[in-house]
């Protein structure tokens, strides 16, 4: 079996140089609280983009908006050239129907902080359900793909276990397999290691590194500065609902331009050293 058939290798498609995902000037408020205040971000095919920032900076809201789990109040987002969540109808922009939104979401996958595996289904069914029900893959093919993915993340023996019987790290790896099984054009990670015990973080980061190496387009909201530095092509620093810095990883850490990023890096560097001690 090849790497490609399991969905671990992606073939680039957008060859014209335009970004796969474009987020421009997106605004979002929850009641009185402004979560996103004109956030902009481009993600190109095959890129791994890490989003860093203090809590409350809007980074989780941003990826939730991209996957249309939250509606946006202003600005716009487009994916593979299609406007996300809206369409032009009788001379005006109008929200898409549920079905239209679902069609757009099929091309993305999301990994959540709390894993959100379906507890009443086995690991195998968690992975096969979306390919079968949403993407029209046959039961046998979905099963074959799922078992191959489980093999790759070293959890083949857990195929028939229920999520509750797995450790947090194993659950998150299954959630990643579930996300990859539909062969998404982009993988979104919302703080995938924040809910894990420290000793379980590495196995999840390792799985994510494998995906990055295989060429997946990934947007990763994370607190793992070391991971961002090692794996991400670009790092984005958010504060107060805006993108403050968006730079190639090597410059991001060695030559931070804004005062806020400098402070953030010093602080997180210090806290990481404390963890290391």
């Amino acid at each position: 079996m090849t790497m490609e058939s399991s969905g671990l290798i992606v073939q680039p498609r957008m060859a014209d140089g335009s970004p796969l995902l474009r987020v421009s000037q997106v605004r979002k408020r929850f009641g009185d609280q402004v979560a996103l205040d004109g956030a902009s971000l481009d993600v190109y095919e095959g890129e791994v983009v890490a989003i860093l920032g203090p809590s409350g900076s809007g980074k989780s809201t941003l990826v939730r908006c991209i996957d249309q789990l939250e509606s946006i109040d202003g600005g716009s987002m487009s994916f593979e050239g299609d406007l996300l969540g809206f369409e032009e109808l009788r001379g005006h922009l109008r929200p898409l129907t549920d079905a239209g939104r679902r069609r757009q979401r099929r091309r993305m996958s999301m990994v959540f902080q709390q894993f959100n595996l379906f507890p009443h289904w086995t690991v195998l069914r968690n992975i096969t359900e979306a390919p079968m029900r949403v993407h029209g893959v046959s039961a046998g093919e979905a099963r074959r793909r799922a078992l191959e993915l489980l093999e790759r993340i070293g959890l083949a023996d857990k195929a028939h276990a229920y999520p509750r019987h797995l450790s947090g790290g194993q659950q998150q790896r299954v959630a990643i397999a579930r996300a990859v099984a539909v062969r998404p054009r982009i993988l979104l990670f919302d703080e995938p290691t924040s809910a894990l015990d420290p000793e379980l973080v590495d196995e999840v980061l390792q799985t994510m590194k494998t995906l990055a190496a295989a060429g997946h387009t990934m947007v990763v909201v994370t607190h793992e500065v070391a991971f961002a530095r090692e794996v991400a092509d670009r790092c984005v620093f958010m504060a107060d609902g805006r993108v403050v810095e968006d730079r190639p990883s090597e410059d991001f850490f060695t030559d931070p331009r804004s005062e806020r990023l400098r402070t953030f890096l010093t602080r997180s560097g210090r806290s990481q050293n404390e963890v290391a001690d």
Partner: protein, 300 residues
């Protein structure tokens, strides 16, 4: 290394320890036993129970028909009530406010009116609405029936019990839906599941854990509630025994016959409820704990 005291401990074996004598438990046990004996004595020695009459009528044809009617009303009321209740629960949680208001209004109304009042009301619907017709509002009539032909004791009973049940089931199912973590909905949406697929495959099965226990009590309450339909001359279990004791004046033994059947059915329902609870508990801690407990038993 081995000391003298350790050696003597090695000789002691608590396996053969005797149970401790607990006087209060003995007294309590004796008291309970005497209460049970007194009750049994009362049941056997009091001739007014007329046990031979109970035995004679327990499997009487019309009693069994009445029991069947009670069971049928319970089943129909539960099925219609659960289906309507599910829609009402989803309606109460809808993001479209007119649907929300309508669902909440329905539940408020039918939960607030005593079922006995509802039964009599539906039975007398013809007074308010002599004819029931289907047609274009304020336009031509397509079909029309006399209300007195439609509303028989059985339709009045089914309507009354189902609507009452739907209101209660709506609240139970709503609580179940709300008990499911929001992350489950996020994950289902992110994977592109439709609302229907999400509701039926992700939300409801998980909500079942919260829905089943109170629903079991609802079935039992509804079974007992069917005895209310005897006031509109519907032939349920209570009505069947009433017809007999109105003729024979053996009131107490006939009521005992009804009580025995109600208790038998409720006991069977309770056993079924436990089984269903276990089934829907798959993948949760409760079952995991049971399994490990069983595994430990096997080891020991």
């Amino acid at each position: 290394m081995t000391t003298h005291s350790a050696e003597s401990t090695a000789v002691i074996d608590v396996e053969h320890a005797r149970p401790r004598v607990r006087p209060l438990r003995i007294i309590g046990g004796l008291l309970l036993a005497s209460v049970v004996l007194a009750l049994l004595w009362f049941l056997i020695s009091n001739e007014r129970f007329e046990w031979p009459v109970v035995a004679e009528y327990l499997f009487n044809g019309s009693v069994l028909v009445g029991l069947g009617m009670s069971l049928m009303l319970t089943a129909i009321g539960m099925v219609l009530g659960s289906v309507l209740g599910t829609f009402l629960a989803a309606g109460q949680l809808s993001d479209f406010w007119p649907v929300r208001m309508a669902s909440m209004g329905f539940v408020g109304l039918f939960r607030g009116i005593p079922p006995l009042v509802q039964l009599i009301f539906w039975y007398n619907l013809a007074y308010l609405l002599p004819r029931i017709s289907v047609g274009v509002p304020f336009g031509p009539e397509l079909f029309s029936w006399s209300t007195n032909d439609l509303i028989t004791p059985i339709t009045a009973a089914i309507i009354g019990l189902s609507l009452h049940e739907a209101a209660y089931m709506a609240e139970i199912i709503r609580a179940g839906i709300l008990s499911v973590d929001q992350g489950q909905r996020d994950a289902a949406s992110a994977m592109g599941f439709s609302r229907w697929h999400t509701f039926t495959r992700i939300i409801l099965p998980q909500a079942m854990r919260v829905i089943i226990p109170p629903t079991g009590s609802q079935v039992i309450a509804l079974l007992k509630g069917t005895s209310l339909v005897s006031v509109i001359a519907m032939g349920d279990l209570l009505h069947a025994v009433q017809v007999i004791y109105n003729r024979t004046y053996e009131v107490v033994p006939m009521l005992i016959v009804a009580v025995i059947w109600y208790l038998v059915v409720v006991t069977v329902l309770t056993v079924i409820q436990r089984r269903v609870e276990d089934h829907f508990g798959r993948g949760t801690t409760r079952i995991a704990v049971k399994r490990t407990a069983r595994a430990k038993e096997r080891q020991s």
